[in-house]
């Protein structure tokens, strides 16, 4: 008698799960706009810097081709690690792989860096009484993050902003606590602008921050800045826009104070020379007077021969479709989120890199 009840309970449980199964299997059929529907799922992980644009690309790619892209934003360090370990189909990082990281990845094959978009790292602050457009140069920002400048009305800041009223609030520095490409890019800028920073802290995906509180991911830093009056942190442009942050105008190589905008991010990518393996950073490189200095490209990582690295033919094909989408349709979508499309002299080698991807020696062409 009782065992019968138990069986009934189990049957109900199975039915529930089964109903759920039937209920959700319809989620992949969507009205198609154009292109073939190939379906399938691929997964990637990495940088939070481009997460907004990759998520938007993912949504549109799915309506176009039916392929689901699961992107897990765990930071560039995580992206490189998961890519190397083969637990994801593609990785994502803002900071190009170091030689040691490339060597580790070589066990599975040649890693290929595919730059996708340019983004700007804003110096966002949340200080009541401080208007937007605070002018800061690299050396001053470095001193703030070194903990040498402790209050918002410090003379160093005053010198750069003689006509702005500065409150006497204490500065709370917010930085990343996880291994981040955004950190690498930001600290590259600080290192370039401040010999003290270069000597004391250096530049990497994780550094020993002299001061401040840590938060994980771009989103976490944004949340921490939002929560604390007097806070300053470095977050990608899209996050600053999403939260209506006030951002600083940063002094570029040409001596101009530039705000982070789509135009200034695009300008930062002009006139760059990129190496053949596409491992580059655009931080503080452009001499264009309209260029925002803390802007650079972000990369997707994929093995040249995906199948030899352990992926199936179908997965490899879907990844190539995805990369191709990013470098074609995706480039038109990026500006909607204030990410700059790749300049021509970066887009061409990027497309060539994607065209060179193979599966067990056979070239892969996008088919959706």
């Amino acid at each position: 008698m009782r065992s019968r009840n138990l069986l009934a309970l189990a049957a109900v449980g199975v039915l529930v799960v089964g109903a759920a199964a039937c209920g959700s299997s319809s989620s992949s059929s969507t009205t198609s706009s154009s292109g073939k529907k190939v379906g399938g799922t691929i997964s990637g992980a990495g940088a939070t810097f481009p997460q907004p644009v990759y998520d938007e690309w993912g949504n549109r790619f799915k309506s176009k081709t039916g392929t689901t892209v699961n992107y897990n934003p765990i930071g560039s360090g995580g992206g490189i690690a998961q890519f190397t370990a083969g637990t994801v189909d593609f990785g994502a990082t803002d900071s190009a792989m170091k030689d040691s990281e490339v060597a580790a990845a070589k066990k599975k094959g040649d890693p290929v860096h595919v730059p996708t978009v340019f983004g700007a790292i804003t110096v966002s602050y949340n200080v009541s009484g401080l208007a937007k457009g605070l002018k800061l140069d690299g050396a001053t920002i470095a001193n703030i993050f070194l903990g040498k400048i402790k209050k918002w009305n410090d003379p160093a800041i005053k010198t750069l902003n003689p006509s702005m009223s500065l409150p006497s609030t204490a500065i709370t520095v917010v930085h990343r606590s996880d291994a981040s490409g955004t950190t690498k890019l930001f600290t590259t800028f600080l290192q370039d602008s401040s010999p003290t920073w270069a000597k004391q802290v250096g530049s990497d995906k994780t550094v020993k921050w002299p001061t401040g509180t840590g938060a994980a991911k771009n989103a976490g830093v944004a949340a921490a800045v939002k929560q604390t009056d007097g806070a300053v942190g470095y977050v990608e442009q899209a996050y600053a826009l999403q939260n209506n942050f006030t951002t600083a105008d940063v002094k570029n190589k040409a001596g101009q104070y530039v705000a982070p905008t789509l135009a200034s991010t695009t300008a930062a990518g002009q006139g760059l020379t990129v190496p053949s393996d596409l491992r580059f950073s655009a931080i503080n490189k452009s001499t264009n007077p309209q260029a925002y200095p803390i802007a650079s490209a972000t990369f997707l990582l994929v093995y040249k021969d995906q199948c030899k690295a352990g992926k199936s033919q179908q997965t490899a094909q879907l990844v190539v479709n995805w990369l191709n989408y990013g470098l074609t349709d995706g480039q038109q979508v990026a500006p909607e989120l204030q990410y700059a499309p790749l300049p021509a002299n970066v887009l061409a080698p990027a497309k060539a890199a994607v065209a060179g991807l193979v599966c067990n020696g056979t070239p892969l062409k996008p088919n959706a």
């Binding site: 765990i74 190397t84 291994a179 990497d204 994980a216 929560q227 604390t228």
Partner: protein
Amino acid sequence: MEAGGFTAPGGRRSALQRPSGARLPDIILQWGVTLLSAAILVLIAYFFLKLIQESTTVFDRFGVLGFTFDNDWDVARSVFGALPLVVGTLITSAIALLIGVPVAVATALYITELCPRRFRSPLTIVVELLAAVPSVVYGLWAFIVIIPFLKPAEQWFADTFSFIPFVGGQVAGPNYFIAGLVLAIMILPIVSAITREVMSTVPPDHKEAALALGATRWEMIRTAILPYSRAGISGAAMLGLGRAIGETIAVTIVIGNAPNIGHSIFSQGYTLAAVIANEFGEAASNPLHRSALIAAGLVLFVLTLLVNLIARFYVVRAERGPRTPRMIAPGMGQ
């Protein structure tokens, strides 16, 4: 007595005798569950061994003591000294015990001794409900509600009492204290439940004797219940400690995740469990880093093992009761 093995006198088949083939299901069942239990043992042993095996990489590099007691957890430079993590784990657990155990014992006392009978059951259920809230929800609530709410109070406390060591200086949003507070809330149900169990083993004679001698309720508690339950309460506290040491998600949300030993209880810190949760993603392809995280897991495992052993020793002793009577009146008994 196993049916079926009995032969009636006269050699006739007994009514109870079964064909030998009927033994089979019995044998299958017995062997089945025995093998299952053996398999579980093998699994646990493999689990332990695997943790040790994967940790050897980092132990070879830094030594077991070096790994556990060096104060330098620097992923970028591939230096893994887990002292900030161990200290963070101990600090947050200590705060959890300091806040949680007295409240849990007080709650247990109130429920068993002082509150009106009809409230006993609802109150017990309410305290147990604290255990039903998942860790991540506590983390969410503490992060959104408690941290901003307590920050001014913490800053006031830090400023007013800055002469006390480890108090004072800038108060960070997420910090050791908040983590300890959340842990205290999480261990409340378990410490309270076990304390109640232990207190229910106090012989009613002791309690009634105290009351008969004119003790007030509180004095009865103080003289009859608390001394008797001391061992059990220690055991309960140790079990709570074990829980606090291993708690990951709630802690990682509210501790700030800074791999340093903070100079005050209001600084950001890190714990063994939190570092594993945060860094495993990055460590996937770096054998040394991965080994370091697994070693952190091993240290965590050993810590909880030790604490639980001590706990069980106390709780078992408490439930058994003192073996010798405390006082023997002259001439009475042996």
